[in-house]
Structures are given as C-alpha cells and as structure tokens.
Amino acid sequence: MTPSSLRFSLSRATVAGLLAAGSLLAACSSDTASSQPDRLPIQGIKRTKPTSPSDTLPDPVPAFQLTNQDGKVITNQTFAGKVYITDFFFATCPSICPKMQSEMLRVYEQFKDDPNVLFLSHTIDPAHDSIPVLRDYAQRLGIQDASRWHFATAPHDTVFALARAYMTGAEKDSTVAGGYAHSGTFALVDSRRRIRGMYDGMEKSQVDQLIRDLPVLLKEEAELRQTAAK
C-alpha cells in the first residue's frame, strides 16, 4: 500500500467511524432503529472549551468569507435560513472528484426546485482554480445558477480550516495524482450552522441516504420557521 492510498483509506476510515457514531446517535433518539429517524443527529467535534458544563454540542461551522464562480463574495449570511451541502474538490483533480461531483449532481437534480437547499463546493487548489476556471467548471457540469450551487475559492489556510470544520480531510500532498489529498465527504449543514449528516460522496448508497435525510431536515427547518413566526 502506498502512503497516499493509506492516507486516503485512513481518512475514509475516520469518516466511516464518524458516520457509524452518527448512526448510533440517531438510533438512540429513535424508537425504530432501522427506519428513517424523524430528526437528524447533530454531528461534528467540539474543539473549543465548553462555556458551561451543559455546553456539549459540537462547534458550529465558523464564520467564513469565500468568492464564488461569479466573483461574488459569499459568507455564512449567504446560507442564512437555508440548508446546504458542502464538498471539497479541485478542477483538475484526476482521481475522485468527477465521481464525487456526479454524485453531488444527483442530489442537486433531486432538490434543484427547492430554494431552501443550496450547494457549496470549495476548491482546494486556489492557485489554479481562478474564478474563470471555476465558472467554466460549473458550466461544464451544467450549473448555470451560481446562487444555487456555489463553486468557491479562498486562500489555502481558510479552505483547509473549513475542510476540518466540515469533517473533510484535505491537505497538500505531492505524492498523489493532482497534488492534493482529500476525502470525498459531503457534509449536510442546517440553518444554524450545525452539521447534521456526513456522507461518503464516493458511495452511491450513502448519497442515497443523504437524499432521504434532506427532507427530514427540511421538515425540521420548516417547523422552526413556523415557531419563529408565532
């Protein structure tokens, strides 16, 4: 096994572990473990110090500022009141990205008529993936509306820190094809910046699970809006 494939499988193992932990959590809160839970678990890791003994929730997605394929600045505010799905890729990625993006495309096709579902793909190769490159990539993928699926860039440090926040492994690695090692994790984020699901974007069955999970989260979000309106 080469070091790169080892690293890749390691990160996949981490993801698998977290996913397993996630489903355990889900099983606890649900009466029928096998059926779809009526509420998705809150996932992620707590890295910050708790502010009180009851503060046990994972860290929310940090504040960010990125630029999308239209050259528009996007921040957490861009996703306010919406749920979104993230991944990490780069335009010249010769290994897992096309498969990953074709799976993401499957989710997009299912929910493209729902304005409450947005998509956010981060490039981990900002030096190459300029805004015109990202726009070309998005259009070749068939995404004309940047406000629904953002292909975003930011300095390396920002992107790698965000990758950690979204529970994806991404780093520079000259030993792998393309120069960057990253996992194909999709993270589902709710309107309160919490990760509600992680899925291996290379596995059709897990992406199918994401497609089943999204309506569960959307229902919760709709109820939240109703409560807030009262």
Partner: protein
C-alpha cells in the same frame, strides 16, 4: 476401498486434464477474460463513468465514442501518458487533465482498450499485445510485458 477410490481418482484426473486443456485453449488469446472490465472499473470509471458515459461537458464519454474509433492508434499512449488540452468527442469540446498510467503493463493496456473497443456501442477492431507495444513506442511507453 482402493477399488472404490481408483475410478474416483481417474475421474478427477480426467477432470484436471480437461481443465488444463480449457485453460490452455483460452490462454492462446488471454487467460484473463475479464481483466479489461475490472481494469476499467479500477482506473477509469471514477472519471469516465461506470458505463463509459463521461460527465456532462467535463469528462468525455468512452461509450459510443467517435474519438475511440478514430484514434485507435493513439489510445495506448493516451492511457500510458495521459492527456490534457482541448479534445472534441462526438462534437463536444472537452478540456480536462487525464493522468497517465505507469503502473499498467502493455498487456493490461491491451485488455483495457479491447474492453472499451468492444463494449458500450463501440464495435472496433481489438488489439494484440504486440500491436499495443508497437503503438506505445512513439511515447516510449512500452514495458515489453
């Protein structure tokens, strides 16, 4: 006991011989009939799709592909060395980076290309290993295996 065992032994010996014969006769062409399909899934499907369909305007298809038919002689070097830059497949422009494959032997490239050339709407002449080795010469890509 031994009289009972003997015919059994003969039978199994006959079976082994028949098996050897079968292996030897398929061996004339290739004793790894499905190698092309499994190599495709391992090395190509992530980009070109599990059915060779490609990905929108990002990755060209290898299924029912005019490029595969027209560039028969150039394909071994593309697999070995990869390619980049503009390429037109079935009338559509693509521009992506394809990595090379230093880890495949000439015979593996042969089986892989033959799988593509004979499937998914492609109906082109298969290669022999010797032919692929010769076609790999211009890009210094033949490993002679």
């Amino acid at each position: 006991m031994s009289t009972l065992l003997l015919p059994l032994l003969r039978l199994s010996a006959g079976g082994v011989a028949a098996l050897l014969l079968a292996t030897a006769s398929t061996g004339c062409f290739s004793n790894r009939q499905n190698e092309g399909a499994s190599l495709y899934q391992a090395h190509c499907s992530s980009c070109h799709g599990t059915q060779g369909e490609g990905l929108r305007r990002l990755i060209p298809p290898v299924a029912a592909s005019d490029y595969v038919a027209r560039n028969r002689a150039g394909l071994p070097c593309i697999v070995r060395r990869g390619m980049h830059g503009d390429v037109v497949v079935n009338g559509i422009h693509y521009n992506q980076v394809m990595p090379g494959h230093e880890d495949l032997t000439d015979s593996q490239i042969t089986n892989l290309l033959n799988f593509v050339q004979r499937n998914w709407g492609n109906n082109n002449e298969p290669y022999t290993v010797r032919e692929v080795s010769e076609l790999l010469a211009p890009c210094h890509g033949s490993d002679g295996q």
